[in-house]
């Protein structure tokens, strides 16, 4: 499977995701933001970090960059797109995903392991997980507080477009287990066609037992499936 990781000035999880992809045998290419051609890819990853310093608003400038126009084109044609953390923020800025990521409710950067529950596993990104499985992933963000309007929220819930919700270690989805104030404990969302996934937790940080755990591996294995 061919993957491309888009690198912006200020991206800082680009190498981490590349390591994870290569570990899982993806044929990966790094794509510099000034490049105008996107290599032929089955998967495009927009990595975490602080693209363009997150000036103006996180993800805002990257969302307007020329390479993103290319990403939007192929995404609309059905190419798989994964935005992690800043990548998720960028995807909402482009409109590929609806909703916004507000500042964390406690107004602080949050860097820690959290639990998330797999809500929808019938899609390209999560088919290797069991439904209602509790995963432990790491989050590291200032703006991960997902918000969207009532109608869209209803659509997300009704059409099963929420793959992950924050929960406690026993799988309870409640206020206490919500690290950043996200509406309905949302940790990741799909577009309508479920070929675009944005998520705040970092699956690429959980593919190596010696530093953490392997809870992120099945996301990449699902994509290979």
């Amino acid at each position: 499977m061919n993957s491309s990781v888009i690198v912006f000035p200020g991206s800082n999880c680009d190498k981490d995701i590349a390591i994870a992809l290569e570990k899982l045998q993806f044929q990966n290419k790094m794509v510099w933001h000034k490049d105008t051609d996107l290599p032929k890819s089955d998967l495009i990853v927009i990595p975490g970090g602080f693209s363009y310093g997150d000036y103006l608003r996180s993800g805002a400038i990257a969302g307007k960059s020329s390479i993103l126009n290319e990403v939007i084109k192929v995404a609309n044609d059905g190419c798989l797109v994964l935005g992690i953390c800043n990548g998720f923020q960028i995807l909402t800025e482009t409109g590929l995903l609806k909703g916004v990521l507000l500042r964390n409710q406690n107004l602080k950067f949050i860097g820690k392991d959290v639990h998330i529950k797999t809500i929808n596993t019938e899609n390209k990104f999560c088919n290797k997980y069991k439904k209602d499985q509790v995963l432990q992933l790491n989050i590291a963000h200032n703006e991960g507080n997902y918000f969207t309007n009532k109608d869209h929220l209803k659509e997300l819930e009704d059409k099963n477009l929420i793959p992950f919700k924050y929960c406690d270690k026993n799988g309870n989805i409640d206020k206490e287990s919500n690290p950043n104030g996200s509406i309905n404990n949302i940790a990741g969302v799909f577009n309508g066609k479920k070929n675009i996934l944005g998520m705040m937790p970092h699956p690429e940080r959980m593919v190596d037992q010696i530093i953490s755990n392997n809870d992120g591996i099945n996301l990449f294995k699902s994509l290979l499936n």
Binding site: P9, G10, N12, C13, K15, D16, I19, A20, K34, G48, G49, F50, Y52, G53, D54, Y55, K108, F109, I110, G111, K112, N138, A140, N142, H202, E204, R205, D208, I210, I211, S212
Partner: protein, 726 residues
Amino acid sequence: MKITNAVVEKHGLKPEEFYKIKELLGREPNMLELGVFSAMWNEHCSYKSSRIHLKNLPTKGKNVIQGPGENAGVIDIGDDDAIIFKIESHNHPSYIEPYQGAATGVGGILRDIFTMGARPIALLNSIHFGSPEHPKTKSLLNGVVSGIGGYGNCIGIPTVGGEIKFNKTYNENILVNAMAVGHAKKDKIFYSKAKGLNKSVVYVGSKTGRDGIHGASMASAEFDKNTEDKKPTVQVGDPFTEKLLMEACLELMQGNSIISIQDMGAAGLTSSSVEMASKGQLGMELYLESVPCREENMTPYEMMLSESQERMLIILEDGKEKDAKKIFEKWDLDFVVIGKTTNTNNLTLMFKNKIVGEIPIDALTDKAPIYDRKWTKTKLPEKKTQIKDLKKIKLEDALLKILSSPNQSNKSWITDQFDQMVMTDTVQRSGSDAAIIRIHKKEKAIAVTVDSSSNYCKAHPQTGGKQIVCENWRNLISVGAKPIAITNCLNFGNPEDSKVMGELAECLLGIKEACEFLNYPVVSGNVSLYNGTNKKSINPTPVIGGVGLITNINNKINQYLKKDKNIILQIGKNFGQLSQSVFLDEIYSITDGPPPEVNLSNEKNNGLAVLKLINERLTSSVHDVSAGGLLLALVEMTFDSNYGLKIDKPKNLSNLMEYYFSEDQGRYLIEVDPNNLNKINKILVENNIYSEVVATVQKDYFEVSGELKILKNELCKINKKWYSNY
């Protein structure tokens, strides 16, 4: 403008120092030259008060590639790998503007690391605040923590460890020390020594602004009545630009165009150009009109003294400008040739084709003043407090009070604001005795920790200096690392006070003794003096940052209990020494008496024996006994674990408090399988190590027979309470 006594004083120079400047130049300096002298001769750059004491520190060893004197120290960790690291203070700026002060402290130390060719792989910090009740403490704490996080998180380097302490001695002078650790290839290390004549001197990075122009310099009316709107003396950091600068520099370093490179840190363009020329025994000519400026009409004085962040000076090989420029353009950074090396041995400053300043380089460096300041010895205080004379307290009450005290509380309120995992090589995050970072794509790792014990240093500086090196060494051993070398940040008060000067001299003596005995050389460091307010100096606070090596990452270990019915052995002797302990301070507010004695020979034997047990996989967790004593160390082993402990009562010591809370040094707790006990005892006996069984692992409860029995999860909650209520 005329240079009056007041002008000299505002530049932080003494009248006799000004006289020496005139002597060295053979004339009066102009204002620009005076500014350059003040920047180079200040305590921060010249180490004029500390130098004669620093030179006694052991700085060599078989793993040392580069000791003090460069941007950072370099050690060999085998194969073709080198680790480059240093700690630095940003105390005064952080008190004035906590967010930016702390952030630029992180930025500055990172540049010291990547200037030498290392990709930074870890950040640590040691932060000290005044008493929690002091009206400024809360906002300073908030600002500093978010500043440290703001910079490290954005640039994408994990902040993996640190320490925080509260003490009223820092009420009006907080300490913010940042340490950075980087990894480089041994044959790709870059130095600041200039080489060759007529080589291009290149300015890269951010533009120069008026921020950070020396606080002691001409900030206001005296300089120019019309430029009232000068920016504050605290620099403003931009981690995004630093990220670009780091990537650009590391990319340029792949090739062979760099002769030498130096970051513009304290004293900016002045110190970087002077240091490069001085090390190469060359002169340097700068064309200041070429310096990229952020603001209009900046004068040569301002350019030379600006401490704008995220800038570097590079001396390039002939004909490499074009290729190098391409890299910096890719990263949208300035790249301008602003000068060249000369054979004049002078720093020659040109502005619009006119010489505006000319100073012999050695006048700024080798001939800078060095002081052998008066210092007095601190007598070892006598032990006054006898536990039997104090009002009795129940063991449980004492433990709970200590566990919920600010200094012993769980620090996750702080560490949760840091990205600890970016770069995906953090094997052990903060919370255990030391953090562990894997060397990328290798089976080995380094362990890193920072430590200080200002109360011990205050009570008896020499013992305190020794103790803190030992504790640092012990923390590395406790995660399975062989300690290799240290960096130190010496935070002291006013060196013109002979008592303070004595504290510095004697702490250094203690550091030297311990480092020599443990083969633990000092490879880099920083001195921060004049910490204090209203003529009251802070407690002496040397901070030690240590780096150790774990050759086989599978031998790493942490402090958290692993298995029911395992046994806890205490390595090292408990003498029941309570003076200067957390217990006496927290429970009785008693802070007199001597610090615990440091026996270097026991320290070394015990440590090496524990390391041997770890490497033979005979222990499943290890924790050192430090501030708070045995009982607190035992509680800490239950955190992040599924188990509690059943603790035996002392067999020999009569007083429970002395037994459980003494801070006798050189001690470890190790968790062992009862089946291995004979084997372990044999090793310990062979090595003359004192040990005793102190507890047994059990489910759920933390229990001291007949004294207390609490759910260990409850203790965990109590330990987390303080920050959430602050």
